[in-house]
Amino acid sequence: MRIAATLRMALRALRRNKMRSMLTALGIIIGVGAVIAMVGIGNGAKSQVEAQIASLGQNVVLVFAGNWSSGGVRSGWGGAGTMTVDDALAISREVPGVINVSPEVRDRQQIQANGLNWNTQILGEGPDYLDIREWPLQDGAMFTDQDVRGTTKVCIVGKTIVTQLFPNEGPVGKSLRIRDIPFKVLGVLSPKGLSVMGSDQDDVVIIPYTSEMKRVSKRTNLSSISVQSSSPEFSDIVQRGISDLLRQRHRLGANRDDDFTIRGQQEIADAATATTRIMTVLLGAIASVSLIVGGIGIMNIMLVSVTERTREIGIRMAVGAHGRDILLQFLIEAITLSSLGGVIGIVLGVGSAKLLSAIAGWPTLVSVTSVVLAFLFSAAVGVFFGFYPARKASNLDPIDALRYE
């Protein structure tokens, strides 16, 4: 029997009971709609986190100063105080695959300008820092190697600093005071927004690391080193190279732990997206349950339909329908019902995801894959839950079926 004729028959049978068909499909509609919307929300959250990760820069490896322990007392991160500028220079010189290195010292200070003051993060960095972070300047220029060598009192500022201290004028060329030392503003960073952890990345003043160490915090060790490898494939080699080099430079014997921590960008990304991935899976799983419940609804109605149409089945068999013709007819009916629900559900799911974006401001991302998967799954639900009733119909005895009242 031809598929087209069977399909026409299925559609007619479904049209005959419009209300019932709609209610049955509703289970699938809600299921598919929920899956699409939920996964859309999960993916939206994930893509937001990924964008934040990307704001770290490209192929970045971060080396943090580690902790020390002595007689059972352990310092916190950065407490080891063993990471030096020379370490950073050595990494740049000796580790293959490294293209940029920026020694980093971090500090918080009260700063003043225009009679206003503000507590902010002071970053002592090398001139390559903005290249590593892929962080363009909105205005002005970055300080240079000369400024680093000369411990010059220059800085570049983030957008938040401009808002807080220079509300009425362009800050480039003006000066601000860090611990009462005037620093000339060379440039303004383009806004970067929130970090993965939710802190304001634009609330920052960047000065040469040498100036930071000698003039501001008067320290001799680094907080961390930002390293950029030439490509993602090099990330592992670079991480291993840095580890070997630092262990050697810090004279750590085989039985001693690292006094530093290396984090590749991928690890940070993995850690940050793990939560959202779990959320996506969880939301998807809950929504799938409703899809299965919808499938059971289809099975129920198909069983009723087979009973109601026993006589019809008998007539069809009497005039020569094989068991498989009847099986196909009812299976196609179930699949039509579930796919129809799937299509409406997709429209509804995409619509509600868009609506959530618009109203609640949640980022949602409905991928083509999730739409195709949801549709195929809804069709599969039709096959799975339609098979038993269809088989029951095809196994009827024509004599009994014809006599059925």
């Binding site: 029997m1 031809r2 007619r12 007539i315 005039v319 020569g320 329908a321 094989h322 068991g323 498989r324």
Partner: protein
């Protein structure tokens, strides 16, 4: 001429629980092409079981059944379905048309399940031709609930004819119809038979059986009487008489 239906010592035994029901207990019967046979008997005589076996809806437990020269007593479900589709046409007591499906589509139904399928245009042509034979071509688009009982039964006959079967089987075809319509339907059968179609009919009404050419009477699963009809009724004449009687009732009223 070889028989189109040939039953050899056919038995059918049903097992309902522990009880064995001997529905048919050794029937030997031959029906030649062009015959018009009524199988008669009281309920429980085994005539319905006989009809199911002849109609390839059921298989004999013992004995052989040759339909159009082919032994069909040992075929499986699907093979029997194919035989029903190709060689048999069915007319039932309750018409058994698909509701909310037009007369034309009802007649097309057997062609849906034919092995070598025709194009839908040819199917349509065949269906309309079959409807013309029973005089309902102008009602092709009507649904069963828009047709009278007699018209529904004629659609069913058209459905039975559409695949050019070797035998047309009718199970109590007039059981749900009034006298006048019954005679009309018998008229259709007589016309078809005159055109050469073999018809086997089950009925318990003697006056209906009188429209056929041969009566086979069954009792307790056996054929007890097999005679040619001597005083055959003809539908046209019977209708005229009925109309006259009707007229007479009207006049006297």
């Amino acid at each position: 001429m070889t028989a189109v239906i040939k039953l050899e010592n056919v038995h059918k035994t049903y097992h309902t629980g522990d009880v064995e029901v001997l529905a048919v207990r050794g029937v030997t019967l031959e029906i030649a092409p062009g015959e018009f046979v009524a199988i008669m008997g009281a309920s429980g005589s085994g005539k319905s079981t006989m009809m199911n076996i002849i109609g390839c809806l059921d298989r004999p437990t013992e004995g052989a059944y040759f339909l159009d020269g082919v032994d069909v007593s040992h075929l499986d479900r699907d093979e029997l379905a194919a035989i029903r589709n190709k060689k048999l046409g069915f007319v039932f007591q309750g018409f058994n048309l698909l509701s909310r499906t037009s007369a034309l589509e009802n007649v097309e139904l057997p062609m849906l399940y034919t092995h070598d399928r025709l194009s839908s245009a040819v199917q349509r042509e065949h269906a309309i031709h079959a409807l013309q034979i029973v005089g309902l071509a102008d009602r092709a688009d009507h649904y069963p609930n828009q047709l009278s009982g007699g018209q529904q039964q004629r659609v069913a006959i058209a459905r039975g004819l559409v695949n050019h079967p070797a035998v047309l089987l009718a199970d109590e075809p007039t059981g749900n119809l009034d006298t006048h319509t019954s005679v009309e339907v018998m008229g259709v059968f007589q016309k078809l038979n005159e055109a050469g179609i073999t018809i086997v009919m089950v009925t318990h009404e003697l006056d209906i059986a009188a429209f056929t050419k041969r009566n086979v009477i069954m009792r307790d699963g056996l054929v007890v009487n097999d005679t040619l009809v001597e005083r055959r009724s003809f539908a046209e004449e019977a209708l005229r008489r009925l109309d006259q009687a009707h007229q007479a009732v009207k006049l006297s009223a």
